[in-house]
């Protein structure tokens, strides 16, 4: 179920003194099974872009086609689109509202008009996917849980709609290192289980470098780079010019090469740099 974004432009409050171009002629194709890291500064248009992918915002011009369904056409069922493309907002725990965790997760499936048995099956399935124990938490109030658990409940609420594409807008914002790592691991597992295309919006190069199969970099409403992490992180100057950093391993590689060490220039993980430096030492080629 590929997603095609064609010449997408979005202007907020067109014609008013506050008019602002949030997206400018963005074209992008996302294939099945990709894990996309969508990077960019605050205000680069990342959030506006992902909200177009399930029809929450309408393009000013251009098209968004999801699974052959053109979202800009009149009469397109938005519920159909939202079943296919699940969107988890930033700080999603702030949207919980039901009396129990199970009821909250069931909200999406209920809106889809599923029967009680199917809803229950999906609630259990989604809780398992996010690593919440049904017997322990299903009947508790979501407001009694810890911040990290609440976030999992909110993610489960979207997964229960069984989307084919899962979009997460800064899923690790505000979490401490342990919380962040466990959410990242959860995303890795969800993707590895197969059948799910994942788009993760992030400011963090380190979070995304070990996770994504492809990076999409945005700046000032435009798509400026796309490619594998290796292809993107090698362009350090360009990333810096739009105010983004690179993982420290890539930065170190760059600095060592500048000092004359014969290293391959496309290293970006600590493992790779570790191996390359030890190899230099073993072969005595450092100087």
């Amino acid at each position: 179920m590929p997603i095609q974004v064609e010449h997408l432009t979005h202007t907020y409050m067109p014609g008013s003194p506050f008019s602002a171009v949030a997206l400018n002629d963005v074209s992008l194709t996302i294939e099945d099974g990709e894990l996309i890291g969508l990077l960019g500064h605050t205000g680069s248009g990342k959030t506006t872009l992902v909200q177009h992918l399930n029809g929450l915002i309408k393009p000013t011009s251009g098209r968004v086609v999801v699974d052959g369904l053109d979202l800009t056409q009149k009469g397109v069922s938005l519920l159909e689109v939202r079943k296919k493309v699940g969107l988890v907002f930033q700080y999603p725990e702030y949207q919980l509202f039901e009396e129990t965790v199970a009821k909250d997760i069931a909200f999406g499936p209920r809106n889809m008009g599923l029967d009680a048995e199917e809803i229950d099956r999906r609630v259990r399935g989604a809780m398992e996917q996010v690593g919440l124990n049904y017997d322990d938490v299903a009947e508790r109030s979501p407001f009694e849980l810890s911040g990290g658990q609440m976030r999992r409940v909110a993610i489960a609420g979207v997964l229960a709609m069984q989307p084919r594409v899962l979009i997460l807008d800064e899923p690790t914002a505000g979490l401490d290192p342990a919380g962040r790592n466990s959410i990242l691991q959860m995303i890795r597992d969800l993707h590895a289980a197969g059948g799910l295309t994942v788009i993760m919006v992030s400011h963090s190069m380190d979070d995304i470098s070990t996770l994504a199969t492809r990076l999409v970099v945005m700046s000032r409403g435009e798509l400026v780079m796309t490619g594998t992490p290796r292809e993107v992180f090698i362009q350090q100057e360009k990333l810096r010019s739009i105010g983004l950093g690179v993982p420290q391993a890539a930065e170190l590689t760059h600095a060592l090469i500048a000092e004359g060490f014969p290293l391959p220039e496309d290293l970006y993980t600590l493992d790779e740099v570790y191996n390359a430096i030890l190899a230099l030492k073993k072969e005595g080629r450092a100087c």
């Binding site: 602002a20 939202r82 079943k83 969107l87 907002f89 949207q95 509202f97 809106n111 889809m112 979207v158």
Partner: protein
């Protein structure tokens, strides 16, 4: 974006009217309302009309802008007119459909009450258009502060107004976000009958209230950490000072009121 919507109707400016002390402007508005209620016959609306035209000229706001503020009340206005037109007692019958009668007296009353409403709204909106909400709450606090002797919470009231103004844009933005998040989970806020729509608001209202309470708790703690302990012993960054223009404006308005009262006595 919702965050860019300006709050209230305040239009910043630096005219004589903008510079008047907010306390004075509140008093002027009260006097103006008195003027309107002293008008006894539709003809004498020429007095508040002249007053408003002079004030709007001085404030740099067009009369059209003032009339625009009446627009949200157009249904109330039409209702007032119709009710008075058909249901006032009168002897000079113009139209008689049996169950409905239009009389000359009814027509005049309808015009009178409609005009009263238009002038009320147009005049008070001149206050909110030329005075920032902050200045307004400051002015109100100062005017009401003599009432503190009878334990009237003047400072608390003004602080509540300030905080409400501060948080309205934040909460609007938040409501927009929660609404989108629930729509992404298939929520439908737009279709169905009244009951269904009201029920559909629950997923929006519950998180919004939870968040508002959390914010209130955080804010209370932040205020305490910055030594807030009520109005006692508090000084203010903004100091309100009456100037000569305030005196002239007051005299002019009191004059207008007197003229209206005499006009009413002269033409019964």
């Amino acid at each position: 974006m919702l965050r860019d919507i300006t709050l209230g109707q305040y239009i910043p400016g630096n005219t004589v009217i903008h510079r008047l002390d907010p306390r004075c402007k509140i008093i002027l508005t009260i006097l103006y309302i008195a003027v309107i209620f002293c008008v006894t016959s539709p003809v004498w609306y020429v007095i508040p009309l002249a007053y408003l035209l002079v004030a709007s000229r001085l404030s740099g706001l067009s009369a059209k802008r003032l009339l625009k503020s009446v627009k949200p009340l157009r249904f109330l206005l039409i209702l007032t007119f119709i009710l008075n037109l058909f249901f006032s007692a009168g002897t000079t019958v113009w139209v008689d459909w049996g169950f409905l009668r239009i009389t000359q007296e009814g027509f005049l009353t309808a015009v009178h009450f409609s005009m009263r409403l238009v002038f009320l709204v147009a005049g008070t909106s001149l206050l909110t258009l030329t005075t920032s909400p902050v200045a307004l709450s400051d002015g109100l606090e100062k005017l009401l502060s003599p009432l503190k002797v009878i334990r009237f919470p003047a400072h608390e009231l003004a602080m509540m107004m300030t905080i409400a103004l501060r948080f309205i844009p934040t909460l609007i933005e938040e409501a927009d976000k929660i609404m989108k998040a629930q729509m992404a989970r298939g929520a439908d806020f737009e279709s169905g009958n009244l009951l269904k729509r009201a029920r559909a608001m629950i997923p929006l209202l519950v998180p919004l209230f939870v968040s508002a309470f959390r914010r209130a708790g955080d804010l209370a703690m932040a205020m305490e950490a910055r030594c807030y302990h009520g109005g006692e012993g508090r000084t203010r960054l903004r100091v309100l000072r009456y100037t000569q223009s305030d005196l002239w404006a007051l005299l002019a308005t009191v004059g207008t009121l007197l003229v209206t009262i005499f006009a009413g006595m002269w033409l019964k």
